[in-house]
């Protein structure tokens, strides 16, 4: 049995590298054209090339999203772009507009095609259609239940990719144009204004339904943490994390948790760990739930007062190096912490640990009472050796 793939978003080259460091088997990213998330920085062609080389040196993969719904004037340059992706040995494109399948064939472009979730593939007939067309993998609609996924895999044998964590669309992907109508921003071309995070008043004719509670249709986030073993057992090919615009801290935190869960499962050591749930809850700043996998979402799977997000300052710093002579960790600071605080250090392939901050030295080697300035370089003592790219967060785990 092939090991299931852990697929992470990469908003830029830096995040691509962080994703691989923290255990992603593959990343997906958007180029400057033809990709949803038109507001994100996205990758230049040179950066895509560099990202692919970086990935392939680690024996990992890069998928490029070409997932807008094309309008007539958007198509120019697409063939040249796809040829470049082929030349750079991109492992697959993730696309929704069907004509790209013909375009690849007509132009002898050898790129694997993964059907984007924007196509809302919900059933075996749809999956079968695309399999016959040469689609290697289907990113299933987020509305699929476990039974749906099982039957689609059994009936078609197509590779499937399933979202396991991140933000949810209120509507069927590709079938929501609220942003177009309410802001003139084209949701299917990457400019979604996230109307489902807005609040409205609900009326019956002229009568407002409720003065106290706004009408909102903002879904809570998705978390499939407790169903990872199920997804492996039913034969899903790839587990996908949403969030090309999220921070490296968010990405590293999610990947470290899901990587461990997957590896533990294959090693026969899997046990559901409440601590993992707590870590994911803390980093997301929104509630997250399984949504459609085990039941149809109801009243508890959405918010009613718009965004319910708590910004957190959990991310304290990045380990730049470990000075084994002086037994000090060199850190680039991200958020305030002070002498006497207990911090938590985590990194790829290691168990996180808590550490009390005995002292803090600034860049000049002077003792200071706190790390106050973002990106300042500081030192703290630690007998436990840490590694470059380990991350430091507020200690919220009872250790």
């Amino acid at each position: 049995m092939n090991k299931i793939e852990l697929l992470a978003p990469a908003g830029d080259l830096e995040r691509l590298k962080w994703a691989f460091r923290y255990g992603a088997d593959a990343v997906y990213l958007g180029g400057e054209k033809f990709s949803l998330r038109s507001m994100a920085k996205n990758f230049t062609l040179d950066e895509i090339k560099e990202g692919v080389e970086f990935a392939h040196n680690l024996n990992k993969k890069v998928y490029v999203t070409v997932n807008i719904v094309f309008h007539e004037d958007d198509i120019e340059d697409l063939v040249d772009y796809l040829k470049k992706l082929e030349e750079y040995k991109v492992d697959a494109i993730i696309a929704s507009d069907m004509f790209i399948l013909d375009l690849l064939k007509e132009n002898n472009i050898n790129l694997e095609f993964h059907l984007s979730t924007q196509s809302s593939c919900l059933n075996k007939e749809s999956a079968s259609f695309f399999k016959k067309e040469g689609v290697k993998r289907v990113v299933l609609a987020r509305e699929c239940s476990k039974n749906d996924i099982v039957d689609i895999i059994k009936s078609t044998g197509i590779d499937t990719e399933v979202f396991i964590h991140g933000a949810m669309c209120m509507g069927y992907s590709g079938r929501c144009a609220l942003s177009n109508y309410m802001t003139n921003r084209d949701s299917n071309r990457g400019a979604c204004a996230q109307i489902c995070r807005w609040v409205f008043d609900l009326y019956d004719e002229k009568e407002k339904i409720n003065d106290k509670t706004d009408f909102s249709f903002s879904p809570k986030d998705l978390s499939m943490l407790k169903f990872i073993p199920d997804l492996i057992e039913i034969g899903v090919t790839s587990l996908k994390i949403e969030g090309r615009m999220k921070s490296i801290y968010y990405l590293a935190t999610l990947l470290s948790v899901y990587r461990k869960v997957i590896d533990d499962y294959y090693a026969g050591n899997y046990e559901y760990n409440k601590e993992d749930e707590l870590i994911l809850e803390r980093v997301a700043n929104r509630d997250s739930l399984p949504q459609y996998f085990d039941k149809k979402p109801g009243v508890n799977e959405q918010y009613y007062i718009g965004r319910e997000e708590n910004s957190n300052q959990d991310f304290l710093g990045v380990v730049l190096e470990y000075d084994s002579t002086n037994k000090e960790i060199v850190i680039e600071q991200r958020n305030f912490f002070k002498v006497g605080d207990t911090i938590n250090i985590f990194g790829p392939n290691k168990k996180s640990f808590n550490l009390e901050v005995k002292y803090i030295k600034n860049e000049d080697g002077e003792l200071v009472d706190a790390a106050r300035h973002a990106q300042e370089i500081i030192r703290i003592p630690s007998d436990i050796e840490v590694s470059k790219y380990d991350l430091i967060r507020v200690s919220f785990l009872n250790r």
């Binding site: 507001m39 719904v69 929704s96 749809s126 209120m170 609220l178 249709f217 879904p219 959405q302």
Partner: protein
């Protein structure tokens, strides 16, 4: 000259429509949405007989996305429907096309594209897979519609009248909200008002939750130009009174432009690039 297609009216009103239209889109209970008169499969034969007397076309409309658990029922339904004297079948879910192709269906197949019929290449792709007619997305401009027709040369249509569907959610958004506020939901259709712009939209709940414009698209001022270029127009009566709709049909027939109307995206491009905002 474009043909005019409309949703199926009630049986008693059918005669009133025959003078104005070339064919009807029929919605089937549990498998279609966005119809005032959505019929049970058992009623279909009667309607077909009545419509065929007037030589009008009939498209059975499968415009939903279907869950895997619904597929066997859907297949059985399609098998029974294609035996009937209809013009064709329209679909949104590509799974329906797969079923029709597996059945080697010989009637017309119409792509009810919802929000994703926006370019000629996709039209050509589907045409090679046996699709014959294409109802384009409502989120493109008149000029784009014309360009798609010219670049594809297929049987192209667009919606020129009706409340426009903006989005579909599988969540029971009204039921959930009423449950949250501990109040009973008494209807399936309500209005939502955007708090910033004070603009109203319609939300309905059936199998899914659907959002519609409260404004009614009326593209009659572009009809003269379009009718000689595209092959059909769809005029949608959903949530519109029959008499009012008949007046609209009359205005299209007689080309009566009534003044400033909501024209949706027919003359307004959506934006999506950073530079579009500058």
């Amino acid at each position: 000259m474009s043909k005019i297609y409309v949703p199926l009216p009630k049986k008693e009103d059918l005669n009133l429509f025959f003078n104005y239209v070339d064919g009807f889109f029929i919605g089937i209970k549990d498998y279609s949405y966005g119809f005032n008169n959505i019929i049970d499969i058992n009623e279909l034969k009667d309607y077909i007989d009545l419509i065929k007397e007037s030589n009008k076309e009939i498209f059975i409309t499968f415009n939903r996305l279907y869950y895997n658990s619904e597929i066997e029922g859907l297949k059985a339904l399609i098998k029974s429907i294609i035996e009937l004297d209809i013009t064709g079948i329209s679909f949104s879910d590509i799974g329906v096309l797969n079923i029709l192709n597996d059945l080697e269906y010989k009637g017309d197949i119409l792509w009810y594209s919802n929000h994703i019929g926006t370019n000629s290449k996709t039209i050509n792709f589907l045409s090679k897979r046996n699709v014959d007619l294409f109802l384009l997305s409502n989120e493109i401009t008149k000029d784009e519609i014309i360009k798609i027709k010219k670049n594809s040369n297929k049987i192209i249509g667009c919606t020129l009248y009706g409340h426009l569907n903006m989005a579909t959610s599988s969540r029971k958004l009204l039921t959930n909200y009423f449950s949250y506020i501990n109040k009973s939901k008494e209807k399936d259709t309500y209005t939502i008002k955007d708090k910033i712009k004070d603009k109203e939209y319609i939300i309905t709940e059936g199998f899914n939750s659907d959002f519609y414009t409260k404004d009614i698209l009326n593209g009659i001022k572009y009809y003269n130009e379009l009718k000689n270029i595209i092959d059909f127009i769809y005029l949608d009566d959903y949530m519109i009174d029959t008499n009012e709709f008949l007046n609209v049909l009359d205005s299209f027939k007689n080309n009566t432009v009534t003044g400033d109307e909501y024209t949706g995206f027919l003359d307004k491009k959506t934006v999506y690039k950073v530079e579009d905002y500058e």
